[in-house]
Amino acid sequence: MMSRMHQKNGEWIDRSKAVSFSFEGKTYSGFAGDTISSAIYASGQRVMARSFKYHRPRSIMSLANHDANLIMQNGAGARFPYATPNVRADVTPLAEGMALTAVNTFGGLADDKASVLGKFARFLPVGFYYKAFHSKRLFPLWERMFRKLTGLGKVDFATPHIRTPKQYDFCDVLVIGAGASGLSAALAAADQGAEVVVVDENARAGGSMSYQPGTEDSILAKAVSHPRIRILTGTYAAGYYADHWVPLVDSEKMSKMRAKAVVFASGAFEQPAVFRNNDLPGIMLAGAAQRLIHRYGVKPMTRAVVLAANADGYRAAIDLAEQGVTVAALVDLRSSHQAGELEVAVKAKGIQVFSSACIYEAVPAADGQSVGSVRIAAFDDGVVGAVSKELECDGVVVSIGYAPAANLLYQAGTRMRFDKGLQQFVPEVLPYGVFACGRVNGVHTFASRLLDGQRAGAAAASHVGFGDGPNAVIPAEAESPSHVWPIVDHPDGKNFIDFDEDLQFKDFRNAVQEGFDNIELLKRYSTNGMGPSQGKHSNMNGLRILARLTGKEPQQVGTTTARPFYHPVPMSHLAGRGFSPERITPIHGRHEKLGAVWMSAGVWQRPEYYAQPGVERIDSIRGEAMAVRSGVGIIDVGTLGKLEVIGPDAAEFLERVYISKYAGLKVGMTRYAVMCDESGVVIDDGVVARLADDHFYFTTTTSGAATIYRELSRLNTMWKLDCGIVNHTGSFAAVNVAGPKARAVLATLTDVDLSGSAFPYLGLREGVVAGIPARLMRVGFVGEWGYEIHVPANFGGALWDALMDAGKSEGIRPFGVEAQRLLRLEKGHIIISQDTDGLTTPSEAGLDWAVKLDKLFFVGKRSLQIIAKKPLRQKLVGFMLDKDFTGAAPKECHLVIQNGKLAGRITSIAWSPSLQRHIGLVLVSPELSAVGTTLHIRLSGGDMVAAKVVPTPFYDPENLKQKEGA
């Protein structure tokens, strides 16, 4: 039977735009502006879901995303390339072509075979999960069964990776909730000059003013047209984070709002009454019924019984009657109240009013799929008399109380207190810059809500610096709109508190009986509030029950923690558009053209090697290395950290931060440099070059550059030496040309005298290379005669091109990081944090010679002095495998075993083309470090490989190739 009514004033649907969709295989039609629930309900289909545990038929309850009754799956089809699980039908706009099915059914909604579970309810009490599955043998069987039976939507693996445009936003005052008090607060703040943003999760602003009689919404027009107010509808505040940082979630994206003050006008959740079969389709909260009528033009029921405990319930009864619903009776849980005029109006409509009465139980209609009648009994604060009447109805409208939507207030650190008069938690101590108004603040009367909003808005504006603050006095509420005990027990149960989790009253009794009698334990044992609605409709009743069962006050019982997010947020919104910064050198494009295979070195991209058609990776790497040894190679070392220290105290500064001496370094020379931290651990290495008495240019490792620069800046902030530190890492391009032919190639590009006497090993020269001003250094690097050339970055490409061109006749070959590592390993050069770890000191790494303890001070000196008095823990030494070794070679981190005990580990290993055997570095106990010692290395599978300790360098031990002697 169709339930669509005539056009309503201000309705949210557009009757000129029909929208067709299907639900459970049947085709339906709704209107633009409908939600999925309103459209299905309008068609006359009431049962829209099956409950989580007992698979009972379910329909609209809150229509506000405060219950999870109506979760659906939107299938893939013509309009939707992939399926969407867990669509919340109550608040999701209807869209053309949706193909919806209920989740959590076993064989479809109508024939849900799992509904038989309801019959076994008494074998599935609260906490049965913990008790039933002791047997390890049977658990896999249970697990398979439950995986089939439970779970909600199904993930579609064809879902693309969606990037949403996450963004920032700013305002002076953020108002959460565009209802009466929220809009009032926004106007008050904006009138004082503040920039205000109002957010509301509904499709339109106005809150309950759009459907609750007894209100009027003239402030909405004022707020919409105010130049300093932005209203964001369809947007909810998902959480509250430090310093008024609030994520705002809409259908497309998340905005990270930074406000200077926040006003919470988030309202309150209508609460369900607890009685047997209170979950039958047709039984809904008053707001749901009224929203169906006024927003969507849907008649919620034909013949209603109203269960009330506040004035809003009376207004709802009058509204329903005026909208053509027969209201058989109004059942008031209270014995008396102060809304006398409303009661007169209700009775004038021919509606019978029963006081001190409750619904004892709802009786299903003949088909069991919705409510057919209710049984009324006398009620006095939980004490129930005999059933006095049975009233036929196809709907029950419940208005018995509210729980504040204070989730984000809790997250902000608000201290709440339970107001007995109001029967509600209200803010007691609000954090700095946080304000609350309206129902969440315990103010329920419409006129008072407007005043309370004004007060909060003025206070928020004043906090930000606009205006003098509020001076209004808000009258106290005359009576509580929330009943102290809207709960009716029943021997046959099925009186639900948590509709997401199918928890009945006796489940709470059982939990408390078993000792889970504090709010945190009760929640986790019973799962109350752990479903998708996270307690919005169940926490308050659960708290009331626990209080009574343990003889405590609600204030003593307390509430559990509310955590972000307020509603489930799609992963695509959280991921947003990712930012993964990447650094490249100016020569990047050249490497790309040469077939570079890229690798990440921190945030930098470096060529690992250059791929050649038909050549295996390992052969390319070895080929590059051999080209350097026999001819000339070129590598981009632009990722190195490059720092300068300039000024009269420059040398003193370097003396303090490195372990070696630099005060006496000659101008035009370089020296290897090792840095330790305060505990004496090696943290970085590089080369220091002296350009002038007061000017040094020094390099750091690629990954260390930013950290080292930052830390050196901190040290000089403290020491205040007369010098400045400059970070030129990105400003200079750098290449290294190495090999026996390197000098010949470079000589064609520069006037700098490259003879060994004019430009000795470890020297530094400034000059012009290929027309570019350059700094040239002769350093050890890969163990061949070579030059490291630094030029301003914008000339990096030109330098590379000139060298490649000049080196053509000598067969110059670009080489990458892997070849570099191989060549340097052949020279026994260590890689900080590969051959050293977080505890390695210079002595352990074979860098004793670099430590100058006779310096007055350097970072780590005292610690090294203390450590020097202790026995050495380990030593880094070189090793080789047998020349004829075949089979699987050890890898980095394979362990050295001695007498069944761990005695060391490999830090680097490679097959050396220059020596034609495996070489490597290993950290071992000092007893095994002597040259000639045999080491036993264990492979992953358990096989043992023998290796011998040898001195380093492995290749050209006298370093003749890189110095004058070649």
């Binding site: 650094r583 030129h728 520069t750 006037d751 000139a802």
Partner: protein, 206 residues
């Protein structure tokens, strides 16, 4: 002698990316235009002696930290980065003379090889909201503020300006991050209906 044969020209860090870029114009450019101005002449220095040395060279020094001032005759800008670091940009002759000049102790030269973008258009604020957590809309441009912050994960220096009611911002970053910064901002700009333009088309804003 070999070196006489060479005449290398400096190349923008964005050159590789720009060579395959599709430029926009008209309405799209009016929405959001991104231009590469990395090769503008630049000079940088810092240190306790920087202010008096620059003044002695005839360079106007912005009075407040993190602010800028223009060079006379529209020849460019001087940015004060923090308290004692400076960036002079625009006039090639001035930049060359500063680079060649003797510096006393207390003045440390900073080689500037930045990537620099000029962003302009009516949708610029929307781009900024997606890339940077500074409230640029709340700045008072009459004080010529300079903002050192992080944009799409990269450290940047931003100089916000307005020409004919259209916002136009200069953004400097380390050259090695330039291509990433430009590509990332372009992706967002294209979604907002804008894109890359040649620097010449924004010459009026320079």
């Amino acid at each position: 002698m070999m070196s006489a044969a060479f005449n290398p020209v400096p190349v923008s860090p964005l050159a590789d990316g720009l060579s395959s870029a599709v430029f926009v114009s008209g309405e799209e450019a009016a929405n959001l235009a991104i231009a590469d101005i990395s090769l503008q002449p630049r000079f940088g220095c810092k240190g306790p002696g920087a202010i008096s040395w620059l003044t002695a060279q005839g360079v106007p020094v912005p009075t407040a930290p993190n602010s800028a001032c223009v060079l006379p005759q529209g020849k460019g800008r001087v940015l004060r980065l923090g308290v004692t670091e400076f960036l002079v940009e625009g006039d090639a002759a001035l930049v060359a003379s500063l680079a060649a000049a003797q510096r006393p102790s207390g003045v440390y030269p900073v080689l500037r090889q930045d990537a620099c973008l000029l962003l302009s258009g009516r949708k610029l604020n929307a781009l900024l909201l997606q890339s940077c957590n500074v409230n640029f809309a709340a700045l008072d441009l009459s004080t010529s503020p300079v903002v050192l912050t992080s944009m799409v994960g990269v450290g940047v220096t931003v100089l916000p300006e307005e020409k004919n009611d259209v916002p136009c911002y200069r953004v400097w970053c380390d050259g090695s991050y330039g291509l990433y910064l430009w590509q990332t901002l372009c992706t967002i700009a294209e979604e907002l209906g804008g894109g890359t333009v040649g620097a010449e088309s924004l010459a009026v804003l320079l």
